[in-house]
């Protein structure tokens, strides 16, 4: 079972390729879809991306009665209209790959809204099996759903389920099997457009019927045109002869509010289903969620609770991750390096240097990242699973407006104080791509712990008792730069558009350890695989440059490079050594101090502080600190920016932006400090 966890998507396809039944899992967010997916596939799953999209693709396989089945977890979407890449991905998959069964996960506690997606799936003529999840939550709220009645009304199988407790899964699989064996008779009751628009819809259908590409159901295409779906409109505009298109276009323009008739028609249909199958509790009953939200979503108390939660995250990180990091450094990586260097005592010294300082140093920096990452991923996943994340986004919405962002960007950004890597990976919670991209671009302006290490080393040397204020000042300046560059980027890149803040506030529920565990595991593995190889390569490269041609950092290519850049460095008050230190901070920010140690021939523990104080002016030091805060993010961060944006263009834009920002900031601060007599 476990051996296949490292298969790539292609391997999965090769292994279980053609002829293997394909099952798709569809559902709105917060319906427990991921829990069901994890339950069915366990570790036999692979996380990747949909081709050309920044949407996560989860695929896996499981065995049913000795037969292997492929299971694809479609992105969680509220509808199947082309409003977001997720929605396009989900419906294109159903249309193109034609899964034999689409398991639609709905919540018994929230049937009215969750059947909306089922209505859309049925119009796509998919073979839908409804997984009626969260029967326990519904029972708690006093809602009774009769699955048989619902099945009869819908005309498709309905299986009650409590995915978080693995109840009902066997029955669900039996039904899936029955569908695969052709033993289920689908007679779905299809939703209709509101009565006053049926006539027009028929006319549109007649106009387009013979031009619809074979993959798509004709009535579905007509319906989507009616709804004003951008993708389908584009497709049909190019398929139809111009005169037909203008006839269709006139009809659509006359009825530009038609999508409301379509949506209302679906809710009328849902109303019939719900009236038949659901007994609602008496009104006036206040649930747990409502009571908790009086505090958690309160404009003032909510902020206090959020601050408390975040304090807890950092406390956890420092009490758990930091000692673990130190332990790994002292007990695992250092002894391993020593052992390796003993082993290679006879080997040429360049080989020893490359392996011990380059490779082990690089791998070590990746590994020591992990404890912090794992804790951040875990806390993040926990808050998300419990339902708290939506509340945090809600109470921070006002402040985030300053940057043209909304509440959902807050938590990823906040994670950046620990490490920018989980911050950028955490932007996956943001549903609109422009908002997510903007958040990714500004996230490196959150000062991470590694940069603060450099600041807390250098600041006391030059500012003595005022070091604390200087450090605070640096953080404040960086954060105000974050806000202003956010506002500016939003204006330049997205013309000041702000994506709408429309978000479901899910019911609070008990977190599922399996869901959280798998998420942490997948994200950590993906970091080690993708970022890890990049970091290893870069550390090797930097090491080689600092070593060649004759094994001395002071005369190495890196030093020559630093000297060549000295005119640029001088603008900011740097000599070549500070420039080199800055360059070597790219693999990991805290490297800057180690490099200065090597260049001044002193260890950071003894003598380096004095040497630095004797060599550099306060203005140079201040400028170096500012540049450290604003410089190109570390290699791991750049690697995840590439991983998350899937674009070299945005990655290079980000690098260029920080290069420009740090150059300008350093120069400005150096000149200003000179004016104030710190030169």
């Amino acid at each position: 079972m476990a051996e296949s966890h490292d298969l790539s998507a292609r391997d999965v396809e090769l292994q279980v390729g053609a002829g293997v039944p394909l099952i798709a899992l569809a559902g709105q967010p917060n319906m427990g879809k991921s829990t069901l997916f994890n339950l069915l596939t366990g570790l036999n799953q692979h996380v990747g991306n949909w081709p050309g999209k920044t949407v996560e693709r989860r695929e896996g396989h499981f065995d049913l009665n000795g037969r292997r089945l492929r299971l694809v977890d479609l992105p969680g979407t509220y509808s199947l209209t082309a409003n977001s890449p997720e929605e396009v991905v989900a419906r294109e998959f159903i249309v193109r790959e034609r899964p034999q069964v689409v398991v639609a996960v709905v919540s018994a506690a929230n049937l009215e809204r969750s059947l909306y997606l089922v209505a859309e799936l049925l119009s796509l003529s998919a073979q839908v099996v409804v997984a009626l999840n969260m029967m326990d939550v519904a029972a708690q709220e006093g809602i009774v759903v009769q699955a048989e009645v619902l099945a009869a009304a819908l005309g498709v199988p309905v299986v009650p389920l409590v995915a978080s407790k693995a109840q009902g899964v066997r029955k669900l699989l039996e039904v899936v099997q029955a569908v695969l064996d052709g033993q289920v008779n689908f007679k779905p009751a299809l939703p209709e457009v509101r009565a006053d628009h049926r006539e027009v819809l028929k006319r549109i259908e007649a106009l387009v019927a013979e031009y619809v590409p074979a993959l798509y159901p004709v009535d579905w295409v007509a319906l989507k045109l009616f709804e004003g779906d951008a993708e389908v409109t584009r497709m049909m505009k190019s398929e139809l002869p111009p005169e037909k298109w203008s006839a269709v276009h006139v009809l659509l323009r006359e009825h530009d509010d038609a999508f409301l008739a379509v949506a209302s028609g679906r809710y009328e249909w849902i109303g019939r289903m719900v009236r038949a199958a659901v007994t609602q509790p008496k009104m006036g009953q206040i649930g747990l969620t409502e009571r908790l939200d009086r505090w958690a979503a309160h404009p003032i108390w909510g902020l206090f609770i959020l601050a408390g939660m975040l304090g807890l995250v950092f406390w956890l990180t420092f009490t758990l991750a930091t000692p673990l990091q130190d332990f790994m450094d002292a007990r695992m990586i250092a002894p391993f390096a020593e052992w390796m260097s003993g082993l290679l005592a006879e080997a040429p010294f360049w080989l020893r240097g490359m392996l011990v300082d380059g490779a082990i140093g690089g791998v070590g920096s990746v590994l020591t990242f992990l404890p912090v990452l794992v804790i951040f991923f875990a806390v993040f996943a926990l808050l998300e699973d419990v339902g708290y994340m939506a509340r945090a986004a809600y109470v921070m919405d006002n402040l985030m407006h300053l940057m043209g962002l909304h509440g959902k960007s807050f938590l990823p950004l906040f994670l950046g104080f620990g490490c920018n890597v989980p911050a950028i990976m955490g932007t996956r919670v943001i549903d609109s791509w422009p908002a997510r991209l903007l958040t990714i671009l500004i996230a490196p302006l959150v000062p991470c712990t590694a940069r603060m290490v450099v600041v807390t080393f250098i600041a006391p040397i030059f500012f003595g008792a005022n070091a604390l204020w200087v450090s605070w000042g640096l953080v404040l300046v960086t954060l105000s730069l974050l806000v202003s560059s956010g506002a500016l980027l939003n204006l330049v890149l997205f013309k000041g558009q702000r994506s709408a803040f429309i978000m479901e506030m899910p019911l609070y529920h008990i977190p599922n350890a399996r869901t959280i565990g798998l998420l942490v595991w997948q994200r950590s593995i993906s970091f080690v695989q993708k970022a890890g190889t990049a970091i290893l390569g870069m550390s090797l490269a930097v090491w080689v440059l600092s070593f060649l041609p004759n094994g001395d950092l002071n005369t190495s290519f890196l030093a020559q490079f630093g000297k060549a850049l000295e005119p640029v460095g001088r603008l900011m008050g740097f000599d070549w050594r500070l420039t080199v230190a800055l360059i070597t901070s790219f693999p990991a920010k805290e490297n800057a101090i180690a490099t200065l140690g090597v260049l001044f021939g002193n260890s950071p523990e003894a003598g380096l502080a004095e040497a630095l104080a004797a060599t550099f002016s306060t203005a140079s030091a201040l400028s170096f600190l500012v540049v450290t805060m604003l410089f190109i993010p570390c290699m791991a961060t750049v690697a995840v920016i590439k991983q998350e944006t899937h674009s070299w263009r945005w990655t290079f834009l980000s690098i260029a932006m920080f290069l420009g920002l740090s150059l300008a900031g350093g120069t400005l601060v150096y000149r200003l400090a000179g004016l104030f007599g710190l030169g």
Binding site: S79, N110, E112, Y394, F501, I502, M505
Partner: protein
């Protein structure tokens, strides 16, 4: 339908009050998202939280939905409409 109750933006509904959605002025893309979360003309809503500034929470079709103030200002409703459920 004949007696026309005043139509007002959703932001003016106070916490605990009920209203019926009448129309949107939010643009197609946003309106589509609102509709998929249950906010369609004729849908009864209950204001769960509205502090007069910042985002607000409404309950519609059994779901709590958070809306930015800008979005909520573009949803026009008619006060009342509690006759159906309680």
């Amino acid at each position: 339908m004949m007696e026309t109750a005043p139509i007002l933006p959703l932001v003016e509904i106070h916490t605990g009050e009920r209203a019926i959605v009448r129309e949107f002025r939010a643009g197609r893309a946003v309106e589509n998202r609102l509709a998929s979360l249950g906010l369609t003309p004729g849908a009864p809503v209950e204001m769960v939280q509205n502090y007069g500034r910042g985002p607000l929470i409404v309950r519609v079709r059994g779901t709590r939905v958070a809306l930015g103030r800008g979005e909520a200002a573009k949803i026009l409703v008619e006060r009342g409409g509690n006759g159906r459920k309680s």
